[in-house]
């Protein structure tokens, strides 16, 4: 079976981009929408076809899925270092092809309705295609250099997309912030690449990731400040990944990036670009695991766990629904990093790795769904804020149901997709480190809480003051919602561990019932709490109450409990901890980054005076400079 057609998958969106970009004045908006959707439909078809071929038709050879690499030598950089270009096909890249294709296709379809009448319609679709192309390229890269190129290209195209509403000052600022902050993180990535290139003499993932070869350990023997240079390189690369995947403290761009069009957020900030960091660590996983007993991997785990917690706490306080989703994404990405960080390598040991990829997959589906639902709501009532919403379930039944499905999925309620993947993550964490497990479990509860908080806030509760009666969105918007809802329901039943595992051999997983029960329980508590706080204003949500009847009545009648909860959660958790965390984030984390920028500007202002415009001063500087240099040369460096 040959997989040569995979090369077409990235080329199709590139072609669409070129067509729309070159003829953007001559193409009618409606046509450009169709061109975009059709192109991506083909790419998606090919992606599924390739996945079928790769996993089923070709299957395992000698018990493992083979890594297929098609590449050509692009450049002989030096006599010893070669740079290739090509495509790399292995389980995770095939899985990512599916994720990127499905989400991008849904967003394309959705955007046809959402952006209707926008003056830059064609430009928008061109950018979408460019982004999709870059993402495919990133996924299929065969070496570090190639992945870096596409990594940056993803950054550029997301800059264009976030800043799409260029008349909005805040959108422009957000686009620039996202670009510059991730670029700042890429400093680490770039230097990491250079270090790896220098010490190992190769950029190829295949060579770097070969655990059998002793070369990895040989390379690791040079040390710098107590750690192997390669550990340093991996940590630096992780900084790059943390920037794209919005890990603390490089997350500050993500909430602001919500200024972009909502479908764009669904594509970029839920399912594709932000998981690039996770993908990068997974791509280099054997290196992370084998070098110095996974020192770098531990860092990944703790950063992931902290981000998961930190972001979930902040998500509770936000009133802009897109921002809640943004923090929620951060938190879930933290989960994925955590899972990678606690993973082992062989067989069942590699549960974390598989769980991370599994969660990446299911999360892409339900988070994209949440964003698109939010877009549907925003489209209907023209506001992002919870205070303007409420009671929308009557007007927007499809959005309501699909949002609920996604919310249940992210809350980890069985048998929806999120349950299965989150469960695996928690099991992996439990087997590795109890502390991380407890954090993970707590975050699971918080997740359920904040997501239902906005769910109740939007669809239940007191009706907002709507000028016109809100209507359900048109079919082009709801169709993708239904499709994604379908994936969010069944996605968890895919026997993921058969296909994807760190050693590519696959293994059997079984549900760990006690742990699963605890996790589900944590989720249900979260849901119940938000129920009490945010649904109560509603007269009585009859149907819903029946479902959870007993628990609800119990909680409702034990009013003093409620008061206690209120005190603990609202006063302490909400006002005390969460608000402080949010303020800390805004003021110090964000503030530091902004401060660095401002300091640079100030310095620039201060030294401006040196450039006086007088030639005498210039001559003086010239001579003085030469003399100082000469003195340094002669007295400092001659020994």
């Amino acid at each position: 079976m040959n997989l040569n057609h995979i090369i077409l998958i990235p080329l199709i969106p590139l072609a669409v981009f070129l067509i729309l970009g070159i003829f953007y004045n001559k193409i009618k908006p409606a046509v450009s929408g169709y061109v975009g959707v059709l192109g991506l439909l083909t790419a998606t078809g090919l992606a599924f076809y390739s996945a079928y071929n790769y996993f089923i038709v070709i299957g395992k050879t000698e018990g493992v899925y083979q890594t297929i690499v098609e590449k050509t030598v692009w450049m002989n950089f030096t006599d010893s270092l070669r740079i290739d270009m090509g495509i790399l096909i292995d389980p995770i890249s095939v899985m990512m092809l599916i994720v990127v294709s499905v989400i991008s296709l849904m967003v394309h379809i959705y955007s046809r309705g959402y952006m209707k009448g926008d003056p830059g319609y064609t430009k928008y679709f061109a950018f979408l295609s460019l982004f999709t192309f870059s993402m495919y390229g990133l996924v299929l890269a065969t070496n570090l250099f190639q992945i870096y190129i596409f990594w940056e290209l993803v950054g550029v195209s997301s800059y264009l997309l976030i800043g799409y509403y260029y008349t909005k000052e805040s959108a422009v600022a957000a686009a620039k912030k996202a670009f510059v902050v991730t670029r700042f993180a890429d400093l680490g990535f770039l230097i990491g690449i250079l270090i790896i290139g220098y010490y190992t003499g190769t950029y190829d993932f295949e060579t770097l990731n070969n655990p059998e070869g002793t070369s990895i350990l040989n390379w690791a023997s040079t040390s710098f400040m107590g750690l192997s240079v390669l550990t340093w390189a991996l940590l630096l690369i992780f900084i790059g990944g943390a920037g794209k995947s919005a890990m603390f403290p490089l997350h500050i761009w993500l909430p602001d990036a919500m200024e972009g069009p909502t479908p764009v957020s669904a594509l970029i900030h839920a399912a594709t670009m932000v998981v690039a960091g996770v993908y990068l660590v997974a791509r280099l996983f054997p290196m992370y695991y084998f070098i110095e007993d996974g020192f770098a991997l531990n860092i990944v785990a703790f950063v992931g766990a902290f981000t998961a917690l930190f972001a979930a706490v902040i998500a509770i306080t936000q009133t802009d629904i897109k921002r809640v989703l943004a923090f929620s994404t951060m938190s879930q990405l933290g989960y994925m990093m955590l899972a990678l960080g606690v993973s082992g390598y062989e067989g069942h040991e590699g549960l974390g790795y598989m769980a991370s990829m599994f969660h990446l997959f299911t999360h892409a589906m339900f988070k994209a769904l949440l964003f698109l639902c939010a877009g549907s709501v925003i489209h209907a009532i023209h506001s992002n804020f919870l205070k303007d919403m409420g009671g929308l379930r009557k007007y927007m039944p499809i959005t309501n149901i699909t949002f609920l499905i996604a919310a249940l999925a992210i809350a980890g309620v069985p048998p929806l997709a999120g349950f299965w993947s989150k469960d695996e993550i928690l099991v992996a964490a439990f087997e590795h480190n109890t502390f991380l497990y407890v954090i993970g479990l707590f975050v699971a509860g918080l997740t359920a809480f904040y997501i239902f908080r906005i769910y109740f806030g939007i669809f239940w509760g007191k009706e907002g003051n709507y000028k016109d009666k809100p209507n359900e969105s048109p079919g082009s918007l709801t169709a993708p919602l239904l499709i994604l809802a379908f994936f969010s329901i069944v996605g968890g039943f895919i026997p993921f561990s058969e296909f994807i595992s760190a050693d590519k051999a696959g293994f059997e997983t079984h549900v760990n019932y006690p742990l699963a029960a605890i996790a589900v329980f944590a989720g249900l508590i979260g849901i119940a709490l938000s129920w009490m706080f945010y649904k109560k204003e509603n007269e009585l949500a009859d149907k819903f109450a029946n479902g959870f009847g007993a628990f609800y009545t119990w909680a409702y009648h034990k009013f003093y409990f409620d008061e206690l909860y209120l005190f603990v959660t609202k006063r302490i958790l909400f006002n005390g901890i969460a608000k402080t965390a949010a303020r800390f984030d805004k003021k110090y984390v964000d503030g530091t980054m902004v401060g660095i920028g401002n300091q640079t500007l100030n310095t620039s202002e201060k030294i401006k005076g040196i450039q006086s415009g007088k030639v005498q001063d210039y001559a003086f500087a010239f001579i003085a400079g030469a003399v100082v240099l000469a003195i340094i040369c002669i007295y400092l460096w001659t020994n």
Partner: protein, 475 residues
Amino acid sequence: MNFSSFLLMRQEIALLAIILILVIAEIFIPKNRKASIVHLTVFLFGIHTIIGFFQIDESYLFGGMFRTNHLIHFFKNVLNIGVLILLLQSADWIQEKIMNQNKGSEFFILLFSSLLGMYFMISAGDFLMFYLGLELSTLPVAALAAFETMKRISSESGIKLILSSALASGVSLFGISMLYATTGSIYFSEIVQTLSSTNLTLLGMVLLFAGISFKISLVPFHFWTADVYEGAPISVASYLSVISKGSAVFILMILLFTVLQPLVHIWENMIYIIAIATMFIGNLFALRQQNMKRFLAFSSIAQAGFILLGLIEGSQLGTATVVYFVLIYIFSNLAAFGVVQAISLQTGKEQIKDYEGLYRTNPNLSLVLMLALFSLAGIPPVAGFFGKFFLFTAAASKGLYLLVFLAVVNVTISLYYYLLVVRAMFLRKGDNPIPFFRNKFYMRIGLAITVLGILLLGIYSPLYDYIYELSSAFN
């Protein structure tokens, strides 16, 4: 001295011939048809550039004063390409503003004389030839800077340039004399054998370095740059920032890698701190500029700092990455200057503020400028990224991670200010955007070539392979 050894100087002779033809044309072409001089010049120089691509043998002339090899020949071709693009971009300006003052051919003659000086400079086999070339390449540019004699600021720019460059060449001559004093020779091949690190040679080296650094605008020898760029006609600023700088980088590389090779452990350190200072100063100053020309001046200073990262590597890899970067830099910077030139010619506007909303009125020009700035900022997949990445790899291969780190920090700073301009064009409305205009034929060709270069040079890998092969010349 026979005919075939004369052919080794083919480039120089051809350029001299063009200059003479222009002198004759100036005399014989009637006044009302002077405009055709521009066409003639572009045509002749185009032919000259193309012929340049035919290989020349490697050899010495005049007892070692003049030498040429494949790499040096390639340098000259790179400069030719740059000058050709520059001619295309400034043809309209000359026809509209300069021809009626009856100075058209004068401009070209001065420009070509300067280029001729650069040829001799990089082909020099001894310090005498080097110095003559250096002077010949600098003096005409001062006249060019003051070319718009009606404008006070242009004259000021010319005066500043001539004063500064007189100082610089005086200093480097002083340095050369010290090297002569300690080694007893002015021939590169002889100096390298007897050079040792005495105080006097070190002083000589530093002074020589200062003189050349002046042309590359390395800190602290850069002060003239912004003032001169701002006052000079855009073509001249463009020439200074691209061609003049490129040639100086080439000669600096030749001197460091061949003549001063024995002092490598000293000049490495020197380059190291100069690189850091240049990157930071260039970038920090660029942050606050309002005028496009000054902005590009500081940006080009910062870019020079990056070039030093490749120089510090000191061998084949360093040579290859520097030459490759300079080639890409020529295209990127000429694209940027070309757009500024086009806009200035049509509207006289040169402030960044004036560029607000440009995308709505002149989308193509904005796209060109965006590509150019992205290339200067080093964003993949445009050529500038590859250039920078390779320079960093060269420095990293020497284990200079701190330097690479600082360089990458600077790339981020520079991204900020390049984006400021991109933002002005694309993301701001602008109260009074520059109205739509069409460029003339030459300008369009000039810009199109640069855009092709920016898009293709990075991706077309045989180019780097070719340069890498040539670069073994100094080892």
